[in-house]
Amino acid sequence: MLFISPWLIGLVWFYLYPFAASLFYSFFNATAFGLGSFVGFRNYQLMALDPLFWRSLLNTIAYTAGSVLLGTFLALSLALLVPKRRGGSVYRTIFYLPMVVPFSAVSIIWIWILHPQYGLLNHYLQQFGVSPPGWLSDPKWAMPALVIVSGWSIGNMLVLYLAGILDIPAELYEAARLDGASAWKRLTRITLPMLSPVILFNLIIGLISGFQYFVQPYIMTNGGPADSTLVYPLYLYRNAFQFFRMGYACAMGWVLFLVLLVLTAFVLNSSRRWVHYRG
């Protein structure tokens, strides 16, 4: 139908074609200027032997695991604390605010807060007698620092949890209270199971965005120090736009897609055991 036509064009032009082309180019020595020579699976072989490929994959997995765990914990806990009626929207706004600004601004703000000498964090840590690390300049602490910063951007998850919590019928809690259930029991037997679909949704979203995490490491650490924050999308970007190894970058892109597919399938499969759907 004619109404769909813009999307038909868009789907093919900006999604299907590049998706297929990416696979195609990965078998060539492509550069910015053209296809280059056909090299078969060589890009993939090189990838398997490339220590930075494995390093970046590991870094991205580590970041995703850390940020999803921290983010889920924070978003859920705070959502449970936010009052359901009066004043709730004020808290919701405050917690959502960091999501509204560009990631590059988030990076600048946190570079400043995490500054070893003039940063706010280290200032207060020193006041408590702790001798704080150099955060972004310390290979052991750079990635943990990035994970901590990701905790600031939990607004999306929190809003969804809030909505999920509001959807839980009050009668369930009343019945539980009449049965003498403790707050903990109410939490684990009612709230969490009823929220499990939202938790699953946020988990998958978190997975997908964690694997695309690029801006903050690009600006805050540029992959360092010592490649400790070289995440997969950053290494991909470098291969494409700094080394001009487009074929290799395309191969990396497809591997990313496959890894993500497998992980998502795994999460969805495991979800059957712990997600409880109303019905």
Binding site: P18, S22, Y96, P98, F103, I108, Y118, L120, A183, V215
Partner: protein, 274 residues
């Protein structure tokens, strides 16, 4: 809930809220300090004396005004594109009946799962061949061809509008386009506003797009310009950096605070899918 639990809850909640606001407050506070104060490690929240010098410096050391202008241009045209294309497409997915409509809709949703890194390189190569690199075109044109998230959002909304309204109009001989324009759109204003706001925000905040397509500094957006500034003067002129960051951040925060109702509604609409 007893007194102690109640108080603890609010202490933690308010504490968290303060912690979430601190980075913004610190940003503004630092932007108003002189570089001497900053280097001396001043940790006061309200600087004495207050200075606007950093803002002046920020606007002169980089073409910050250009950046803002560029960002606004890209954002406005992207919003126009998004509103135009997605309303048409969403109408087709919701108010019209055709074979394999639902199947095609699922394919549409699948594109949301596709990471940009997979299509990024071929897209860049294609735009290169078209000689569209170093222009705003790669950032604006795709918005005129639909986006799965907005299609989904608008479709959900359109589905909620009663069929009788369309039926009545059809009896009077109205075409689908007329139905869309005169009946559906006026009723869909909240959803349209949500799409406009989301796209505006996305364009304003977009970093990777401008990064790979724009090479002339004069064409940079605020988000990209900030990063560029950081590598240029970030280690010396902290004050100007903070001022520039504030300039980048303030407009979207203000827009958000006044329109949050629509944002939240948009986010909540997206959860119905999974």
């Amino acid at each position: 809930m007893d007194r102690l639990q109640h108080t603890t809850r609010y202490i933690v909640l308010i504490g968290a809220a303060i912690l979430f606001l601190v980075p913004f407050l610190w940003l503004i506070s630092t932007s108003l300090k002189t570089n001497d104060q900053i280097v001396q490690g001043s940790t006061s929240w309200i600087p004495r004396p207050l200075t606007l010098q950093n803002y002046a410096n920020a606007f002169t050391s980089v073409p910050l005004f250009e950046y803002a202008k560029n960002t606004l241009v890209i954002a406005v045209f992207s919003v126009i594109g998004a509103l135009f294309s997605n309303t048409l497409v969403a109408y087709g997915f919701s108010r019209l009946e055709w074979r394999s409509r639902e199947l095609f809709f699922l394919v549409t949703l699948a594109t949301l799962m596709l990471p940009f890194q997979v299509t990024m390189v071929p897209l860049f190569m294609m735009f290169s061949r078209l000689h569209w690199t170093n222009t705003f075109l790669p950032l604006i044109v795709p918005c005129f061809f639909g986006n799965a998230f907005y299609i989904f959002l608008l479709r959900q909304f359109f589905l909620g509008i009663p069929r009788d309204l369309s039926e009545a109009a059809k009896l009077e001989g109205a075409s689908e386009l007329q139905i869309l324009w005169h009946i559906i759109l006026p009723l869909a204003r909240p959803a349209l506003l949500a799409v406009a706001l989301f796209q505006f925000l996305f364009s304003w905040n977009d970093f990777l797009g401008p990064l790979i397509y724009l090479t002339d500094q004069s064409k940079f957006t605020l988000a990209l310009g900030l990063a560029n500034m950081q590598s240029a003067i970030g280690l010396s002129d902290f004050g100007a950096m903070m001022a520039a960051a504030t300039v980048t951040v303030a407009p979207v925060i203000i827009v958000f605070i006044f329109t949050q109702r629509y944002f939240i509604a948009g986010i909540l609409a997206s959860r119905a899918k999974s």
